[in-house]
Symmetry: C2
Subunit: 199 residues, 2 copies
Amino acid sequence: MSTPPSRRQPAGAAVLREDVTEAIRAAVFEELAAVGFARMSIEGIARRAGVGKTAVYRRWKSKLSLVLDLLTAFAAQGLPAPATGSLYGDVRALLEVAAHALRHPVASQVIPDLLVEAARHPEIADAIKAALLDGQQGVAALVVRDAVARGELPAGADPDRALDLIVGPLYWRLVVVRTPLPEGYLDDLASAAVAALKA
Amino acid sequence: MSTPPSRRQPAGAAVLREDVTEAIRAAVFEELAAVGFARMSIEGIARRAGVGKTAVYRRWKSKLSLVLDLLTAFAAQGLPAPATGSLYGDVRALLEVAAHALRHPVASQVIPDLLVEAARHPEIADAIKAALLDGQQGVAALVVRDAVARGELPAGADPDRALDLIVGPLYWRLVVVRTPLPEGYLDDLASAAVAALKA
């Protein structure tokens, strides 16, 4: 893609700028995994990315905005409504995506980190909610809508309750208890969630 | 309780020692809530408790052992098996205790803090598991055992799966999503969990 002429920069500058942005993003992941959100600094990120602090501050105003930007990109992955044609199929597909996401370092290290900040700072809680939960709640709403249309769930079924029942047990297991899933566990969890949704 | 004669201390010293211990415990709660585990220091705890650093180190060897000691005391509260005579009753009672615990500052601030550490340090994960999860898994095992004896669950029902299905949705809602519970939500969650357990 070429740089618009109005910016009057050589094409190479745009490429380099993209590289720096990507280097900073990668450095944030590594810093978060290594030291955590509380101990992470813009200095440390810049050092790891091999750029100056101003290169970071030109793109993001704080470490929080940097991390929320990463989270938003992460949350946007793999979130199309499953639309498998059955409630069990949709729930099973959601669990597959969620299990994959919850095993990713972003989820297993960064999300718990941010929940810690969220417990002390309501504005962070709101930002996390917008970055991570809104997408999931949207998908849950579509799954519930389709199930209601098929007659698998009663009209008025609550999408937030559905998300609690589908994702909650898996989150608890993978993020809190952290024990391996037995063979066939996601299939079993999908059956259990469908029974819970219909209860 | 009197001090054993072998220690050769006046009775007043024992009382004072208990007061110091309690002052330190209270200071740890306040420090954790204020600054979080990562930023908390023995110096800060001692200052808040109005004691010297050595008074803390005489009792606990590190901030981690201090926090795990608090967690163990917290986890020991309210964990008798419910034994209400029905699976629904037992699940509803567990949810009541869990909802109370998860709204307590220890749970909403300290547990997420420690999960962050656990993601980086397996030894902390093991200690948290021993302090918090073993008790809950024990109660879940008793609830499942009683339900099997009554014929409400099939023989061989897995207590870990039961805990995932009972506590997971509530943990997700109260600790991750952090939206208020609608009226009657725990009753509804208990019905959903029973249906999931039987699925």
